[in-house]
Amino acid sequence: MFHGHLNARMLRSALPALSLAVLLAAIFYTQPRAMSYFGLNLMLQYAVPIALATLAQMFVITVNDLDLSIGPFVGLVACIGATYLHDAPALGLFMLAGCIGLYALMGALIHLRNLPSIVVTLGMSFVWLGIAVLVLPTPGGKAPEYLKALMSLQVPLVPFPIVAAVVIALVVQAALMHSSYGVVLRGAGGNPKAVARAGWSMLRAKMIMFGLAGVFGVLSGLSLIGLTTSGDAHIADRYTLYSIAGAILGGAEFVGGRVSPVGAVLGALTLTLAGSFLIFLRVSPDWQIGAQGAILILVLALRALISRGEAR
C-alpha cells in the first residue's frame, strides 16, 4: 500500500519532465535544426524570464494565495530597468528594492486583514501597470549593458538558458524543499493553523513568500529586458497566466502547499516550447492559435495516459 503511494507520487513528480521530453522529441523530429546549441539557445531564451515569473507565482501559491499582478509587475520592473537602472543605477536599485518591499507588504495586508489574495493582487496589477505607464509612457528606454551581456552569454557546450534554468531550479528547490525554514513555509500552506500552533509567525511566513515573489518578479523583469534590450509597460501582461499555468503544469496545487520548484521551471519550459513547436508545424494562419491549444492538450493528454497506465 505504501509502495502504491510512493510510486504514484514519484510518477506524478516525473510528469512535468516527461511532457517536456515528449515535446522536445516532437520538435527535434519536425525541425532537426533545433537540435543544436544555436537552436536550443534561440528556442529557450525567452523561457528564462517566464521560469522566473513562474517561480514567483509558485511562492505565492505555496501559501494558498494567487498572484494576478505578477505580469504587470514584471512589466514595471522592465520599465524601471530600461530607464532608471540605466540612467541612474542607484535610484533604479532603490526603486526595485521598494517594489519588493511593496510586495512583502501586500502579503502582510492579505494576512492581517484576511483578504482574498485574488482581489488584492488584481488591484495591484492596475497599480503596477499605472506606475509603469508613468515611468515609461511609450515603449523604449535602454537596458543596462550588463544585463544584455548576461542574457547573451555564450557558455561552452550547454546553451545559457539551460544552464540558467537548471541553476535557478536547483537553488530554489534546495531552499524551499530541503532547508529547515523552507519546511515551515510549505507547512504554512499545508495547515496554517498547525504551524501557528507550533509557535511560528504566519505573518512572517506570508511576508517572506510574497517578498520572494517580488524578488523573482524583479529577476524576471531584468532578465527580460536583457533579452529585449528595451522596456514596454505591456511587455509581460500575459506572464500572469503563463506563470499560473506553468506552476500548475509543474505539479503545484492551488491549495495545500504542494509545490515543486523544479516542476515549475519545467512547466515554464513546456509552455514556451509549445509555442515553438507550433511554428515548426506550419498550420494555416486561421488555425495557428487553435493549434497552440491543441498542442497543450495533447501534451497533457499524454501525461494523463501515462499516469493512468502506470497507476494500474
Partner: protein, 490 residues
C-alpha cells in the same frame, strides 16, 4: 484536599464564551508533576476548550493562569506554553498534510535546524514512534496526507513526546485513542503510564471510560462548562463516573437481538469481495442485519466500505449492492463535514432530493428535519443555523449520524463512526441502530472498539486488506477477534 507540592499548571476561575455559548463557566484545574489527570464529560462539556486554553491557543475571557507557580496570565500563548514544557495533541489533528512525518517534527521544534536537520528530525520522531507504538509501519519520509487517520494520530502523539531543548512537563491528549484500534490504544496507554512514572504529567481526555479509569491517577468530570467532580481515580468506578457526568443511562450487557440473530437469512442487500481476496470469502449482509467489520485499524475496512459505496447504484465486479447507501464518515474533517455550512445544512444534505417541491427545496421541511434530528441525536447547540464548526467534536459526529440515519438509505455504512462520541450518546445510538435494523435497515459497521462488535449480528475480521475470519454473533469473543487480527485465522 492535599495538593502535591509542585504545580505545573494552575488555572483559576477560567471562563470562556463563544457568542451565546458559554463553553467554560469558571473552571479551576491544577495539575501536579507526575500526575495523570483524566478529563471526562459529555460532548460539548468544554473539555477541548479547556485544553485549548491550557495550551495557549485560546485566550479566556476571565481567569488566572499560573505555570510552575508563576502567574503568566497576560503573556500566555502557544509559544510560552511550549517554552514551559506544555504540549498538546488537539482533537482535530494539527499536522501539515503536505509534509513528511519528519518535516512535521521539524515544524514542532524551532531548534531542529542546521545542516543535518532532516536526519535528526527523522531519528527523533522514528525513535519516539518505536518507543510508543512498537511494530508500527510508519516511515519518517512518509507524507502525512498519504497516511490513514489512525497513523496520523500516532504521528501526532509521538511528536508531542519528542524532546529537543525545551522541557517536557505536561502533555495534553485530547481524545488520542479515537482513531486507534484497541491494540494501538493499549500501547499508548502503557506508554503514558511509563511516562507518568518518570515524572511527566499527562492530561487524558477520552470517552472510553475504561481507559481513563485504568490509566489516570485523578479524574476531573466536566459538565456544561464547569467541573462537577474531581477525585482520585480510585474513588470512581464506571457507574459512578457515568452518573457524575450526568448521563442517566443503564449501562448493561447487550443481548443478541432475538429476531434475526444467527439466522443469516432474508434478502441479500450487500455482497462484496475484497480485491485482494484470493479465496472465495466474501462479505454478505442481509436485510436488517448489523454487520461488523473488525480488525486492526488500516487493514482495509474503510476501503471495503468505500468500494461498496462506489458500487451502489451501478454495481461492479467485486461488489453487488441493493438499494441506496449512506455512509457515516469517521474522519469527519476530510470525509464528512461541510465547513462553511450550518449544522442544519450539514444534516439535511443527504435527504434534500426528497424535499424538492416544484423544483425548489422546501425550506420548512428542511428546517423540520434539522430540528427533529437535533432532538433525536441531542446535538448540543443553541441554533441549528449556526456554523457546524461551532460544535464540539463529538457533536459534529452526531450531526453526521443524523445525516445518514435521516436519509432514505436502506444500507448504512459506518466508518468507525463513534470517534469522539460520549458514552451517553453512544448508548442511545446503539439503541437507535438496533431499532432501525429491526425496521429493515442494514448496517455495515467498521469499528475499532471491540465492545461495539457485541451489537453486531455477524463480524468479519480484516487483515492486510482481506477478510480472514467471519464470526457469527454467538461465537464472538474478544480473543477470537484479536487472534484473527494478528494471524491468518482459524
Amino acid at each position: 484536599m492535599t495538593r502535591p507540592p509542585q504545580q505545573i499548571v494552575d488555572l483559576t476561575d477560567v471562563a470562556m464564551s463563544f457568542g451565546a455559548v458559554r463553553a467554560l463557566a469558571g473552571v479551576d484545574l491544577a495539575v501536579a508533576a507526575g500526575e495523570c489527570v483524566g478529563l471526562v464529560g459529555h460532548n460539548g462539556a468544554g473539555k477541548s476548550t479547556l485544553v485549548n486554553v491550557l495550551a495557549g491557543g485560546l485566550i479566556p475571557d476571565r481567569g488566572r493562569i499560573k505555570v510552575a507557580g508563576e502567574d503568566i496570565t497576560h503573556r500566555f500563548n502557544v509559544r510560552t506554553a511550549h517554552q514551559h514544557g506544555i504540549r498538546c495533541v488537539f482533537q482535530e489533528l494539527s499536522l501539515c498534510p503536505n509534509l513528511t512525518v519528519a518535516e512535521n517534527a521539524r515544524i514542532f521544534h524551532a531548534r531542529l535546524r542546521g545542516m543535518s536537520w532532516k536526519r535528526r528530525a527523522a531519528a527523533l520522531i522514528g525513535a519516539k514512534l518505536d518507543e510508543i507504538f512498537p511494530g508500527h509501519d510508519i516511515l519518517p519520509h512518509d507524507i502525512i496526507g498519504d497516511l490513514s487517520i489512525g497513523r496520523r494520530q500516532m504521528v501526532e502523539i509521538a511528536r508531542a513526546f519528542t524532546v529537543t531543548v525545551e522541557p517536557l512537563d505536561l502533555v495534553i491528549l485530547d481524545e488520542p485513542t479515537s482513531s486507534l484500534d484497541a491494540v494501538t490504544a493499549g500501547q499508548l496507554l502503557a506508554f503514558v503510564r511509563r511516562q507518568v512514572a518518570m515524572g511527566t504529567s499527562v492530561i487524558l481526555i477520552s470517552h472510553m471510560l475504561g481507559e481513563v479509569l485504568g490509566t489516570c491517577s485523578r479524574i476531573v468530570v466536566m459538565k456544561d462548562g464547569g467541573v462537577v467532580a474531581a477525585k482520585p481515580a480510585a474513588a470512581f468506578n464506571r457507574e459512578s463516573l457515568v452518573s457524575a457526568m450526568g448521563t442517566v443511562v443503564e449501562v448493561q450487557g447487550v443481548a443478541p437481538r432475538p429476531e434475526i440473530a444467527g439466522s443469516r437469512q432474508g434478502e441479500v442487500m450487500v455482497e462484496a469481495r475484497s480485491r485482494r481476496q484470493l479465496n472465495d470469502r466474501k462479505l454478505v449482509a442481509h436485510r436488517g442485519e448489523v454487520i461488523g467489520l473488525a480488525g486492526l485499524a488500516g487493514h482495509g475496512q474503510t476501503r471495503m466500505l468505500l468500494q461498496i459505496f462506489a458500487a451502489a447504484g451501478k454495481g461492479d465486479l467485486f461488489a453487488e449492492v441493493r438499494g441506496p447507501v449512506a455512509i457515516i464518515a469517521g474522519d469527519r474533517q476530510t470525509d464528512g463535514i461541510f465547513p462553511l455550512w450550518s449544522i442544519g445544512q450539514n444534516v439535511t444534505i443527504r435527504s434534500l432530493r426528497g424535499m424538492v417541491r416544484r423544483l425548489l427545496i422546501d425550506s420548512d421541511q428542511e428546517r423540520a428535519m434539522a430540528a427533529t434530528w437535533q432532538q433525536k441525536m441531542r446535538i448540543k447547540t443553541p441554533n441549528m443555523d449556526d456554523n457546524i464548526l461551532t460544535l464540539s467534536g463529538g457533536n459534529q459526529q452526531k450531526a453526521l449520524f443524523a445525516r445518514a440515519l435521516g436519509s432514505d438509505a436502506g444500507i448504512v455504512l459506518m466508518d468507525d463512526p463513534m470517534r469522539g462520541v460520549d458514552v451517553g450518546t453512544k448508548i442511545e445510538v446503539y439503541d437507535r441502530i438496533r431499532q432501525e435494523a429491526a425496521g429493515g435497515r442494514t448496517f455495515l459497521w467498521y469499528t475499532t472498539e471491540i465492545d461495539e462488535l457485541k451489537y453486531c449480528d455477524h463480524v468479519y475480521v480484516f487483515r492486510n486488506g482481506i477478510i480472514v475470519d467471519d464470526i457469527p454473533r454467538d461465537e464472538l469473543t474478544e480473543a477470537r477477534v484479536l487472534s484473527a487480527s494478528f494471524h491468518e485465522a482459524a
